[in-house]
Assembly symmetry: C2
Homo-oligomer: 313 residues x 2
């Protein structure tokens, strides 16, 4: 076992940061380390938080982290959102909150880029969750940008997924209706001191009534005012209740299997694509084929079959 892995298992923050960077760069050292780390994973509770811009996800995460720390639990935070205060553009209030967390040895914060620009979850997120898990963080919180594939992918990683909604943003409810409804394990109506909060709660609850009818668990709808720390204790309790529910119903193993499957798919996808598009001979071949497609001497489907024919057994 390499030094970096040994240091990570001891919880050394610098080694954690280094391995994350290596994993983001698809470095071979990271691959070896990830293999060594896997047996030490599976203990962290993974919480996903998603919601549109301006819904206060980051403030909510800060407050939730504070409370977990009070209970003696260590926390890892992964922000996969280019507009997240964790990724840079923090307002003053957020910055003070974050500085406090950043000074705490029991907290590790990392912001990751998205694949493409605002797209699906970057593949490194699976690695980072495993790293923070192996290093002994009790809770790992993953923040994703509010719309897009990332919002949907998060349920594959998180044991419990929170969807954050703000009163008065018609967009949020619209998005829910458009198909993101199924991903929430808990709804959080944040900024609940805003006008229109009753209507938002009623709207979300009526959607919950439809989607949860006939199910043995009804998705709870909570109100919080994260900036004032209000409602965070109830939220934490609901997260714990959801965890108990998962364990009681054996959905917990199913959820973990889903994460491993998503990770496996992602590693395979990445390897295959780099095999095809980074390897020099393949690259040249693809360039030639693109020329021929443009000249109408071949077409994309025939070209794809030609490439696959040369690489598959």
């Amino acid at each position: 076992m390499s030094d970096i892995v040994q240091n990570i298992l001891k919880g050394d923050q610098r080694s954690i940061a280094r391995l994350i960077t290596l994993a983001e760069n698809n470095d071979k050292i990271a691959t070896t380390a990830m293999k060594d780390i896997h047996p030490y994973t599976g203990n962290a509770q993974v919480i996903g938080i998603t919601g549109v811009m301006g819904s206060g996800k980051s403030t909510l995460i800060c407050e939730l982290t504070r409370l977990y720390r009070k209970l003696g639990k260590t926390v890892g935070i992964i922000a996969i959102d280019p507009t997240s205060p964790f990724s840079g553009g923090a307002l003053l209030g957020d910055r003070v909150r974050m500085m406090e967390l950043a000074m705490d040895d029991g907290v590790f914060i990392r912001s990751l880029g998205t694949r493409g620009m605002l797209g699906g979850l970057t593949s490194a997120v699976y690695d980072v969750v495993e790293i923070l898990d192996a290093c002994g963080k009790d809770v790992v919180i993953v923040e994703t940008v509010g719309v897009g594939q990332a919002e949907v992918d998060i349920i594959k990683i998180a044991d419990t997924t929170l969807v954050v909604i703000v009163p008065g943003l018609g967009d949020s409810i619209q998005t829910l209706k458009a198909g993101v409804m199924e991903i929430a394990d808990i709804y959080v109506i944040n900024k609940a001191d805003r006008p229109g909060v009753e209507q938002t709660i009623a709207e979300v609850e009526s959607l919950v009534d439809i989607t949860c009818s006939g199910k043995d668990r009804k998705t709870p709808v909570l109100s919080t005012i994260a900036k004032q720390g209000k409602g965070i204790d109830v939220l934490l309790q609901e997260i714990e209740d959801h965890r108990s529910y998962l364990e009681k119903t054996h959905l917990f193993e199913k959820q973990r299997r889903l994460r491993y499957e998503a990770e496996l798919v992602e590693i395979i996808r990445k390897r295959l694509m780099s095999f095809i598009f980074d390897e020099q001979t393949c690259k040249q071949r693809i360039n030639d084929l693109l020329d021929r497609i443009g000249e109408k001497k071949t077409d994309p489907y025939t070209a794809a079959e030609e490439i696959l024919g040369t690489i598959l057994k």
Copy 2:
């Protein structure tokens, strides 16, 4: 050449609809037809339109289509947005506009699902662009949901990409700053009768000044009120100007090559993934590996290497 291809080349709307459905279902008939169709493609002008929910993309498309029709051009419309009025939830005003278009033989409208839920462009979009191109549509308009990978992928398909922004939605400008800035060939400030329009224009223009400094083309920022048909003629002219710019600078061929490359990547990705995850023996193997990952007898990286070892030459 099959009947369906012959009918499509004649512009038969039913055959077009049928082939699109076959392509969406990854039917083998579609693959063969797509190969036959390719030589007849490359003539349509492809316009991408993206922007957040409620920015009036669909109304803009309706008005733009009306104008193209007046100029004697045929139009294909592809909506890849679960919240688009073209995909169902049209308001009364929109519905009247769309009915008018739907009655017109020179217009073909199709709404496509997104991959996953709100994620990247569905792979069928490449096929649909080629089909509408081959059947003789002069203009093909692709509407994508405003945030997420789809918004970024659109530039690979479209010759000209419009980013639609609405005054007063702080979100739009935020999103631009977050990295979607580069995708616009033309900015459209729609609903320009709303308060705050001057400020929005100023903000977008100052962003353009930054991103276009040193470039030979400055991204134009236009105002429209699509509902009243205002500014559409100027927009159409700017689209034509951009097309001329592409042709003059030989960026046109580069753009088309980008589309073929994206399509090729997508076909390869799809084929490989279905080879690995749909084939029965592979499926069983993956299930076994997931069990072993869960039991910590192996890890996702080693498992991925094992699978790749069995399928790659």
